[in-house]
Symmetry: C5
Subunit: 333 residues, 5 copies
C-alpha cells in the first residue's frame, strides 16, 4: 500500500545548491545579454535622475515612476504566462512523444519477406530507404535546420537517400506532397511483393499496409502540429505584454529624496525589478518552444543526429534479412 | 540523461523583438479597429471633463470614475478568462487532431481489390469518391464557408462528387443523415465486392468495414463536437464580462486638479487602461475559436483547400490500382 | 510552417456584439428570475437604511455592511469555482464523447451474416433491436427524462423494443442488471448463428463478440460515470459558498452620509455587487452540469431524439441485409 | 450547429436551493464534529479575552490576534489546495475508470469452447472462478475493507473462490504474487484446452491469452496506482498547512474596545473565519481521496458488493455454455 | 444515480491528525536540516540587530528588512511553483504508468511454442532472458542506481543475464544502442523459430513480433522521457526563485522599537516566514521529481527490486513450457 514512503526523501541536502551554479543549458546563459542591457538602462536612468535633472524634471520623473509602478503591479501577467506556458509545454511534450518512428514499419517488413528470394535484399533495402526518406522529407518541411542540410532534392540524392530517377518523379510534385508520394511508392512496392508471392503469408501484406498507414499518419500529424500550432497572435500578445512590462519596470521605482543606503540600493541595484522581469521573460521563452519546436539552432545537431540514428537502425533491421551473420551465431549459440 | 541542456538556449537574442513587429496574422490586425474606437472614446470623455463640465459635473464625473476604478479592479476577470480559454483551446486542439482523414480508408480499399478485375477501376473510383463525398457532406453540416461553396446537392453534383441518381436518393433524406447514407452505400459496395469475389482475401472484406466504421465515427465525432461544444451561455457570460470591463475602464481614471504631465498623460494616453482591456479582449477571442472553429472567413480557403487535398489524394490512391505506370516503374527500377 | 497566420484574425469586428444580445440559450434566460429577486432585495435594504432606521440602526447597518464587504473580498471563491468548474466540464466532455454508439455493433453483424439465409432477416432484426434495447435500458437507469418516457418494461414493449416473453424474463432481474441480460441474449444469438453456420467466416463470430463487448463496456462506463461522479459534498460545498457570497454581497456596500449621485447609485443600482455574484452563480451552474448530465428538462427531447436516431439507424443497417433495393441500385449503377 | 442552446438553461430555478439542505453524503455530515470543536474553541478564546484577561493580557492577546490575522492572509493556501486537489481527483477518476473488469475475459472464454465437450462446463467454471479469484486477490492487497472480509486464504476457500489444493500452492508464495500465480494457472488451463482441441478455432487460443494479459495488466496497474500514488510527504505538507491555518484563524480577529453589535458578532459568531477554514478543510478532504481510495469504511460495502457483482456475472456468462435454457428460448423464439 | 453519497463522509474524524505526526517518508524528514539552518540564521540576524548594531546600523537593517518584505510579497512564486509542479507531477505519473513490462512479451512467446520441441526449453529461456536483459540495459542508461549495480557488461554477465559471447558483440556497440541490439537478437530468434516450424501457428510469429515491437517502443519512450524532460533552465529558474525568496525572507521582518511579546516573537520565532518558505521549498522538491525520477538513493532498492521481480516472473512464465508440474496438477485437478 505504501511504497510512497520512499518518495518523500528524494532529494538530498545540498543537491539543489548544485543546480544553482550550473552554466551549461542554464538560465544564466539564456538571459545574460538581455540582463546586461536591462541593468545598464536601469542604472542609466538613475544617473539621469540623480545628476541630469533639475527639480521640475525630477518631479516629472517621479510622476512617471509612480505611474509605471502602478502599471507593473496591475498587469495580470503571471496568470497570462501561466496559462500560455502550460498549454504550450503540453503541446511540446505531446509532439515529442508522437514523432514518427521507423523501427516498427521497417522491421515488420523485413521479418515478413520469405528468405532466399532472388531480389529479396534489394527490396528490403529499397523499402527501408524509402521509409527513412519519407521521414526526412517530412522533417524537411517543418524543421529549418534539416532544410538547411538538405536544401534541394539533389542534396538528398547525394546523401544516398534518393535515386536519380526517383528524384525526377518527386520534382514533378510540390514539396508538401513529397512524403505522401514516397508512401505511395511503398504501397506499390507492397503490392508488387504480394503479386510475386514474396510475403510469408497473405496477412503480412495487410500488416505492412497497416504499419505504413500508421507511419503516414504520424508524419501527417507532425506536419499538422507545426502548421496548426499556438496561434501567432497569441504568442505576439504575450510577448508584447512581457516586453511592455519590462519597459515599465525599468522606470518603476520608489524615489525619495533621502540618501539612505536603501534608496541607493533601489536606484543602482535593480534586484527586485530585474528578478521579476527575467522570471516572466524566461517563462515566456519556455512557452515559445511549442511554437517553434524545430527551428532553433542548437537542436540542429539533434534532428540531424536523429536522422542518422534512423539510417543506422534501418541498416540494422535490413541485416535481419541477410544470410546468417553475427546475429545468427548469437541466436544459435 | 540530459539532452535537455540544449533545450535551454533555444531562443536567440533579438528573436523576440522580430515577433513584435509582424503584421500578418498579428494581434494588431485583430484589434486595431476596436483600439481606435476605444482611444477616441477615452479621449472624448477627457475632453468633456476638461472643457464641458462645471464644478458640480466634474465632481460627479470624478465619483463615477472612482466607482469604475473600483469596479475594474474587483472583477475576477483574468481567472475567468484563463479557465475559459484554456478549456476551449484544448478542445480546439483535440478537434484538429481528430478530424476525419480519407487516406487509410481509401488506400486500404484500393490495395485489397484483386488486380485485373473487369469493373475494378470503376469500383475503386466509386468507393473513393463516396469517401470524399462523405467528408464533404460532414463538413457542409458544420462549416459555413463550405456550405457557402456547396449550398445545394446540385453544386456537389457539379463539382463531380455526386452523380444525378445519387443526388435523387440523398434528397429524400434530411441533411444531417447525408453522411450516414453515403457510408451505407459504401457498405453495400463492400458487400457486393465480397459477393463477386473481388477482394484478395475474405479478411479484406472485414478490414475495409472496420476502416469505414472508423471513418464514420470520426465524422460523427466532428459533428458532435460542433453540436455539443462550449455552451453558448458561457461564451456570452465571458463576453459580457469583458465588454463591461471595457466600458468601465473607459471611465476608470484617477482625476486630480493638478496639471502635471502625468495627469495629462492619464487623461489623453490611455496606455494602462487600454492595454489591460485589449489583453482581456484578445484572450476572449482565442477562447471563442473553439466555439466556432469552422465559421470564420479566413479559414474558408483552408477547408476548401483541405477538401481539394482529399480529392487529390483520392486520385493518387486510385492510381495504385491502375496498370503499371510511373509508380510501377519506380518500384521495379 | 505557418498556416497559423490565418488563425489570428478569426473574429470579425462586431461579431462579439451580436453575441451580447442573443436570448435563446442565453445567460439572461438563465438568471433573470434570480436577478429580479436579488435586485429587489438589494434596493429593499437600501430603502430600509434610508427611511426606516434611526441613527443607531444606521450605525449597526453600516457595521454589518463593512463586515460583509470584508467577507466578500476575503472569500477565495473564484479559484474554488475555477477548479470545480474546469474539472466538471472536462468530465462532461469526456462523457459526451464516450457515450455508447450502436452503429458499429449492428452494421458489423449485418455485414457478416451470409445472404439468403432462411431466417436471416429475422435474426438481423432481432440482434439490432436488442442492441437498441440495451442502449435504452442503460439510459433508463441514469437519465430521468427517459425513465419518465419508459417508466415500466411494458412501455418499452409498447414502443416495440421488447417482446412479451422477453419482458417476462427481464422482470425476474433487478433493473441495474437489465442491460447485461440483453447483452447475454445477444451473445447467445451469436453462438446460435455460429452453430448454424450463418456467419460468412468463423472470424466474424469473434469480431461480433468483440464489438458486443465494446458496446457493453461503453454502457457500463456511462453508468459508472453517473454513479461515481463529482461527489455531492463537493457540489454542496461550492453551492453553499456561492449562496453565502450572494447573501453577504446583498449587504456589502460602502455607506456614506453624503447624498452625491454616486452614493445614490451605490444604494439603488447594485451593478458591481450583482455582476460579481451572477458571474459566480453562472460559473457554478456550468459546473453542476457534470453532476447531473442527464436529468435536466430541456435535454429530455435530446435523449429521446437520440434514441429515435438509434432506432432509425438500426433500420437503415438492417436494410443492408435485405434483397437488392435502392441502395443496391445506387451501387451497381 | 447549435444544439448547445439547450445547454444554457439546464438548471431550474430553486434547484440549487434543494442542494443546500440535503444531509445524506453532505458537507455538513463531513464537518459537524470539527465545526463544534472549532466554534467552542473560538468562543472560549473570546470569553478568556473579555472576562479573564487584564489590560496587559488584552494587549498581548491583541498583538497575537493581529499576527495571526497577518498569517492567515499571507498563506497561499487556496492555490496550494487547488493544485493538490485537482491533481488527486484526476487520479481518482482515472483509477475508477481503469479498474479491472471480468466480463470480457470470462465471456470470451465461454464463447470459444466447443459445445458438448466432456469436461466443458467444469473448465468454464474453473476458468471464470479463477478470474474472479484473481480480482479478489488483487483488491485484497490494496483495499483494507476487503482484506478484513478475507483476512486469510482460508476465508477465500470458505467463500468458494478457492479449492483446498489451490490454497496450498498459493500459500507457498508471498501475498503480492498471488494474483500473478492465478493468471499463470489460467494460462496453463488455456494451454491444456488447446492441447485437447477444445477451442472452436486456434485463434481462440490467442484471443483468450490476449484478454487474460489485458486483465493481468489491469490488475497490475491498480496495484501500482495504490503503491505509487500521491507522495505521503505532499499530503502531509498540505494537511499541516490547512491545520496551521485553522489554528491561526482561531486567534485571528479584529479586536476593538468598542462594544458595538459588530464587535460582539466578531467575537462570538466566527462566521467568516469558520467559513474559510472549513472550505479549505473540505477541499483537503476531497484531495485525500486519491491517496486512500480503497481504505474508507463506507466504501466497504461497495467493494464487497462489487465482488459479488463479479461473482454473479461469472455465473451468468457460464450459463452461456450450458444446454439450452431460458436464454436459448429467448433467442430461438 | 447516486452512489456518490458514500463519497462524502470518507474521512473519519481524527484521521487527519494521525497524518500530522508520521515521520517515515514525512515532510519533516525532508526539511529538518534546512529548517535548523534557516532558523539559526534567522535568530542570528535578530541577535545581530538587537545587540551588535548601533542606531545607524539598526536604521540600515530596518531599511533592508522593509525592502526584503516588499520583495517577498511581490514575487509571484506560488503560481510559478503551481504550474511547474503540476506539469512535472503529471509527467511523473505518465512515466510510472508507461514503464515497459516483460510479462506479455515473455508469456506470449512461451504459450506459442509447440510442446515437446527438442530445443524448446532452451529457446524459451534464451528469449525471456534477453527480454529481461533489454529491460536492464534500458534502465542502466537512465537510472544511476542501476548503473551502479551493473557498472560494466561483465557485471551483467556475472548476474547471469548475459553470456560471454553475447557480451563480446554488445561491446562493439555504444551503450545507447544496447537495448536495440538485444531486440534485434530476439527478432532473429523469432525468425529462426518460424523457420524451424516451432510456432503453433504462423500467426504466432506475427504476434510475437508485435509484442516485441511494443516492448521496444516502451523502452524507447522511457529513454526519451529521461532525455527530453522538463528543461534544465526551467528547473534552475524555479530553484533560483525559491532560494532567493528564502534569502529575502530571512531578512524580511517588521521591526519596531517596542519590546512587546509580539515583537519578541517576530524576532526569535520565525513561524510565518519559515512556514511560507518551506511550503515553497517542499513544492519545489515535488516538482523536481519528474526531472530526476530514477536518480535518487532511496529508489535504488526499488529499481533493483523491480528487476528482480522481472527475473522471477520470467522464470514463472518459462515454467509454463516445462513438463507437467505443480501448475499442471492444479489445472487438471
Amino acid at each position: 500500500m505504501s511504497d510512497n514512503s520512499s518518495f518523500g526523501s528524494t532529494v538530498k541536502f545540498g543537491h539543489n545548491v548544485k543546480t544553482l551554479f550550473r552554466w551549461t543549458g542554464s538560465t544564466y546563459r539564456l538571459v545574460w545579454k538581455e540582463f546586461i542591457i536591462y541593468t545598464m538602462a536601469y542604472i542609466g536612468l538613475s544617473i539621469v535622475y540623480d545628476f541630469a535633472l533639475d527639480d521640475d524634471g525630477k518631479k516629472g520623473f517621479e510622476d512617471i515612476s509612480a505611474y509605471c509602478s502602478k502599471y507593473t503591479s496591475s498587469l495580470p501577467i503571471i496568470l497570462l504566462l501561466g496559462f500560455f506556458t502550460s498549454t504550450s509545454m503540453q503541446r511540446w511534450f505531446s509532439l515529442v512523444h508522437s514523432m514518427p518512428g521507423t523501427t516498427r514499419v521497417i522491421a515488420s517488413f523485413v521479418m515478413s519477406i520469405k528468405e532466399g528470394q532472388p531480389e529479396g535484399y534489394q527490396i528490403v533495402e529499397q523499402y527501408s530507404r524509402w521509409i527513412v526518406l519519407g521521414w526526412a522529407l517530412t522533417f524537411r518541411l517543418i524543421c529549418k535546420p534539416l532544410k538547411r542540410v538538405f536544401p534541394t532534392l539533389v542534396s538528398l540524392e547525394n546523401a544516398g537517400l534518393l535515386l536519380p530517377h526517383e528524384r525526377l518523379q518527386l520534382e514533378s510534385e510540390i514539396a508538401s506532397n513529397h512524403p505522401i508520394v514516397v508512401v505511395q511508392w511503398n504501397l506499390a512496392l507492397l503490392k508488387r511483393c504480394n503479386r510475386q508471392g514474396m510475403f510469408m503469408d497473405f496477412s503480412d501484406y495487410q500488416r505492412n499496409q497497416d504499419n505504413l498507414m500508421t507511419f503516414k499518419k504520424s508524419c501527417g500529424d507532425t506536419i499538422k502540429f507545426a502548421a496548426k500550432n499556438i496561434p501567432f497572435a497569441l504568442i505576439q500578445a504575450v510577448t508584447i505584454t512581457v516586453y511592455s512590462y519590462g519597459l515599465a519596470s525599468l522606470m518603476a521605482r520608489q524615489l525619495t529624496d533621502e540618501h539612505t543606503p536603501t534608496s541607493f540600493t533601489i536606484r543602482y541595484f535593480p534586484v527586485l525589478n530585474a528578478f521579476q522581469y527575467f522570471l516572466y521573460y524566461l517563462w515566456l521563452q519556455f512557452g515559445r518552444l511549442a511554437a517553434y519546436p524545430f527551428s532553433d539552432d542548437e537542436n540542429d545537431i539533434d534532428i540531424k543526429r536523429l536522422l542518422q540514428a534512423h539510417v543506422d537502425d534501418a541498416v540494422r533491421w535490413q541485416s535481419l534479412y541477410s544470410s546468417p551473420g553475427l546475429t545468427e551465431q548469437i541466436v544459435s549459440h
